[in-house]
């Protein structure tokens, strides 16, 4: 609980920091800016922790023994693909929605041989979030920004079609976008869903 409060306190401080920077940028806002942006990105160390494998029913000794031939030992994702749309209210503040997809692979291990099997594509993850982005540097070619999004992540177990959900909270701690209407960008992400970096392309119109 203490760690959670500490985390929230830091998040709040970060939010204040962003607003301060944004206010500075707002002072430079001359009302001439593109109001829409679509982003496509890839990256992040996706958190697969929710993967649910408990749908195997153990009704007999036979079931139990067979279940031990295929124990999920590790799950991983090769990253997450994100598509976002942002509407700029000012040159420094935008509201947006994000959809993300990630394929989750699982490594199964036999409890009898101790051997790992080839990874199997077991889960699909669908991420739906909405949030705000702050630009604290708005030059013609380079923009620096941060954002915070929240929403829900829906996992689908491909083997039995069972879905599970979890609350999602993501931030871009630091993002840099280079270009005019078409830009390339890189972000440093942290949150409940993915962490690390992501890169992508955005179009402003």
């Amino acid at each position: 609980m203490y760690l959670y409060l500490d985390y929230m306190r830091k998040l709040f401080c970060f939010f204040i920091f962003l607003v301060s920077f944004s206010y500075h940028s707002f002072a430079q806002d001359r009302g001439q800016y593109l109001k829409n942006e679509i982003k496509v990105s890839y990256g992040g160390e996706f958190n697969t922790g929710i993967a649910d494998y408990k749908s195997v029913k153990i009704g007999s000794i036979y079931d139990y023994l067979i279940s031990q031939s295929r124990i999920p030992k590790d799950s991983y994702s090769n990253g997450i693909i994100l598509v976002s749309y942002n509407r700029f209210l000012t040159s420094w503040l935008s509201l947006g929605g994000t959809f993300g997809y990630s394929a989750v692979n699982t490594i199964f291990r036999s409890n009898f041989s101790g051997n790992d099997f080839e990874p199997v594509w077991t889960h699909d993850s669908f991420l739906f979030m909405a949030g705000v982005r702050f630009h604290y540097l708005n030059h013609t070619w380079v923009r620096l920004y941060s954002d915070i999004y929240s929403g829900v992540n829906v996992f689908r177990n491909r083997e039995d079609n069972i879905t599970t959900r979890r609350f999602a909270l993501q931030t871009c701690l630091f993002g840099i976008s280079v270009g005019k209407k078409v830009s390339g960008f890189a972000e440093l992400n942290a949150g409940t869903e993915f962490s690390g970096g992501s890169v992508g392309i955005s179009v402003r119109f």
Binding site: E45, I58, G59, S60, I61, Y62, D63, Y64, L65, I66, Q68, S69, I71, K73, D74, Y76, R109, S110, N111, F112, S113, G114, V142, L144, F174, I176, A186, L188, S195, G196, G197
Partner: protein, 276 residues
């Protein structure tokens, strides 16, 4: 411009730092633990409980002090358990014994046991020396953790290890048998666990209330660890029928480091050893 370069280099650095290490569980003890507890509570309990009740009764006869006798009577046979002896017929809870008239601890004694709650129940005791018995058993019963009943069978040589009523336990001199799924006609998928007690496997019992009138096969005891095994070792061999990916998976349980009061089990499988 310097600030931008600084920012870019920071991102590159954090990219490289923010990586996640993969989880490796190492040796998995959950399955060996499951086998150990199942063999203990399903196989060994049922192989020794009927003999244990009869021996407790015989030992109780040697206690002459009425106060001590009352104490041990309550310890060995809780109030809820019916204890009755009439001629060559004995009744302890749900178990009914018929003897050939020779006292249990005299060579030549033979008893057969039936169970009030289980039709498919056979248990026989033959005394081979004053503290050693051959027992054979075949029974079917429901257990809490499975949808299908289990069939249990085996033969054991059991020796009374201590006549001290306060630390009452047996040596399983040898035991060989199995427990397996008992599935309806047409369902051929059967799991089979063969159990062999090697060298000596000791076994003691705690006289909990549930030992009273609760029948064998009751859902109340199946995994409740009311049996304790220590010293010696036993082996289980897992098979499925029809044979799939599983064939003669063997686990050895070394109980050398367990004693009357403490459990420290080493298990071996495919040359790899672990403990729990």
């Amino acid at each position: 411009m310097n600030k931008i370069l600084l920012a870019l280099s920071s991102v590159a650095l954090l990219f490289s730092v923010a990586s996640c290490s993969k989880y490796d569980s190492g040796l998995d003890t959950s399955f060996p633990q499951h086998l150990y507890r199942e063999a203990k509570n399903i196989y060994f309990y049922n192989s020794a409980e009927a003999l244990s009740r009869a021996v407790r009764w015989e030992l109780l006869k040697t206690v002459t002090d009425p106060e001590a006798r009352e104490y041990y009577l309550n310890e060995f046979f809780p109030n809820s358990m019916t204890v009755k002896e009439e001629g060559n017929r004995l009744k302890f809870g749900a178990l009914n014994y018929v003897s050939n008239g020779i006292p249990l601890m005299t060579p030549g004694a033979e008893l057969t046991v039936t169970n009030d709650y289980l039709d498919d129940y056979f248990y026989s005791i033959k005394c081979v020396s004053e503290d050693t018995w051959n027992v054979s058993f075949r029974m079917s019963m429901d257990v809490a953790d499975y949808d299908y009943p289990l069939y249990i069978e085996g033969e054991s040589v059991v020796k009374l290890s201590s006549e001290d009523l306060n630390t009452f336990y047996f040596d399983i001199v040898s035991s060989k048998g199995r427990y397996m799924d008992k599935k309806p006609e047409g369902d051929e998928s059967v799991g089979i666990i063969d159990v062999t007690a090697e060298r000596m496997c000791y076994l003691t019992k705690y006289f909990f209330e549930q030992y009273g009138n609760v029948p064998f096969g009751s859902i109340y005891y199946s995994y409740s660890d009311m049996v304790h095994v220590f010293h010696g070792s036993f082996t289980v061999v897992c098979n499925t029928r029809p044979q799939t990916s599983l064939y003669n998976e063997t686990y050895i349980f070394d109980l050398s480091y367990s004693d009357l009061y403490y459990s420290n089990v080493y298990f071996g499988h495919n040359g790899i050893w672990g403990s729990f």
